[in-house]
């Protein structure tokens, strides 16, 4: 096979990727580390998962289109919320969370983050099977007419017993 023949598929692949219009990293930044947050809960009982912050690092407003579990295997989610950051983030908590930040929550879907604004994303999650359910979280959003999809590296697990 000639070098040109070898190069052709590569060029076509790169061209296809360019045409797909991958917008790259958006104003909510890149995904974080790989890892997992496990929350203990009986089957079907909701818990709060609020480890993530949505931080608009850009110069234009960010509109959140949706927050979903990426690949919910044995997990179900409720309505996602955004909370002001007052002290520590919600992290893992009984549902619903308590406190001043929770009292000032807004629905995540359709929320607009001002440039520089950071809000705590809180999901209601419950496991629908034994022994556990696991998923990553994807945030679809738009800024300056461009849509982005951010899948966090840190996944959510709800289990009867979390292993250390």
């Amino acid at each position: 096979m000639t070098r040109r023949a070898l190069m052709l598929p590569l060029v076509m692949t790169l061209a296809a990727a360019a045409c797909a219009g991958d917008p790259g990293t958006g104003p909510l930044g890149p995904a974080g580390n790989g890892g997992q947050q496990c929350i203990p809960a009986p089957l079907g009982v909701p818990r709060a998962m609020g480890d993530f912050t949505l931080h608009n690092t850009g110069t234009a407003p960010v509109s959140v289109n949706s927050v979903t579990l990426t690949d919910p295997r044995g997990l179900a989610q409720g309505k996602p919320w955004l909370l002001p950051v007052i002290g520590e983030l919600v992290g893992t908590a009984l549902w619903p969370p308590q406190g001043r930040a929770w009292a000032r929550r807004i629905p995540a879907d359709g929320a607009v983050l001002r440039p520089g604004q950071a809000l705590n994303l809180v999901l209601e999650v419950r496991r629908t099977r034994n022994p556990s359910g696991t998923s990553q979280v994807t945030i679809d959003y738009a800024a300056s007419g461009t849509t982005y999809s951010l899948t966090e590296g840190w996944s959510v697990q709800v289990a009867g017993t979390c292993s250390a």
Binding site: N33, D51, E88, L89, E152
Partner: protein
């Protein structure tokens, strides 16, 4: 003269010589003299001295309260990026850091789990060597590098916890757990020390290209705090 690339260094083992680089052509000057002194492209590198195994920092776990289980695993395939030291003379104390070399694990080294409040810097053994590089027209050069992971575990306890601002903390229910598969598990400015006759302290970064794993489990309600960001994005986590 360029220093040897890390890919060349990585392949060099005790007793093994580096491939010689012979000039592809030499052009004589008007006097008919080929000046090799000005063309230092003839180099031979070789293992010079075994410096033995040295403890090297690879990970950190922190808990400010009791009843939190912490466990660091230097997983199979995890790697540490260890600084390489160069010296023109080879004399003690003249080595300076320049680049790094990656050494990977070939099996998993589990560090002991802890359940009480503690500050832990985990270490494992790497073998280090001194190498000599002889080039035409240039004096000998020396360098030191790790050439093999040797397993084992040890721990030291730093005096202070890292600072963690409150807005980088998340709540943790009793029974919650975090598994942190990091691409950059830990970074230590003084990752290892080669004493006499080298006198060089090099940096060490673990998990630069492969994962190491840190587990935390809370047996009481508490918090996970990142050292420079929220836990999912932080360089290190302190359990509280």
């Amino acid at each position: 003269m360029a220093e040897p690339s890390s890919s060349v260094l990585a392949k060099l083992r005790p007793g093994q010589e580096m491939p010689m680089v012979v000039p592809s052509k030499a052009v004589a000057n008007s006097a008919g003299i080929v000046n090799l002194i000005e063309a230092p492209d003839y180099c031979v590198g070789a293992f010079y001295k075994n410096l033995g195994k040295k403890l090297t920092y690879v990970g950190a776990t922190y808990a400010t309260v009791n009843r939190i289980t912490m466990h660091f695993s230097y997983t199979e395939g995890a790697s540490s990026s260890l600084e390489v030291g160069f010296s023109a003379s080879g004399k003690q104390g003249t080595f300076h850091g320049n680049g790094s070399i990656s050494q990977s694990t070939t099996f998993e080294q589990d560090m002991p789990a802890t359940t009480n409040a503690s500050k832990n810097w985990w270490r494992t053994y790497f073998r280090y060597g001194e190498y000599i590089l002889v080039c035409s027209g240039i004096g000998d050069q020396y360098w030191t590098q790790a050439y093999q992971w040797d397993a084992g575990d040890a721990v030291t306890h730093p005096r202070f916890f890292p600072r963690t601002p409150g807005f980088d903390c998340v709540g943790e229910l009793s029974g919650s757990a975090i598994k942190d598969d990091r691409t950059k598990a830990a970074s230590f400015a003084a990752g290892f020390t080669l004493g006499a006759p080298i006198g060089f302290t090099g940096s060490a970064q673990t998990g630069w290209t492969h994962d190491a794993q840190i587990d935390y489990k809370w047996h009481v309600n508490g918090s996970a705090c990142g050292t420079n960001n929220e836990p999912p994005y932080a360089a290190a986590i302190v359990a509280k």
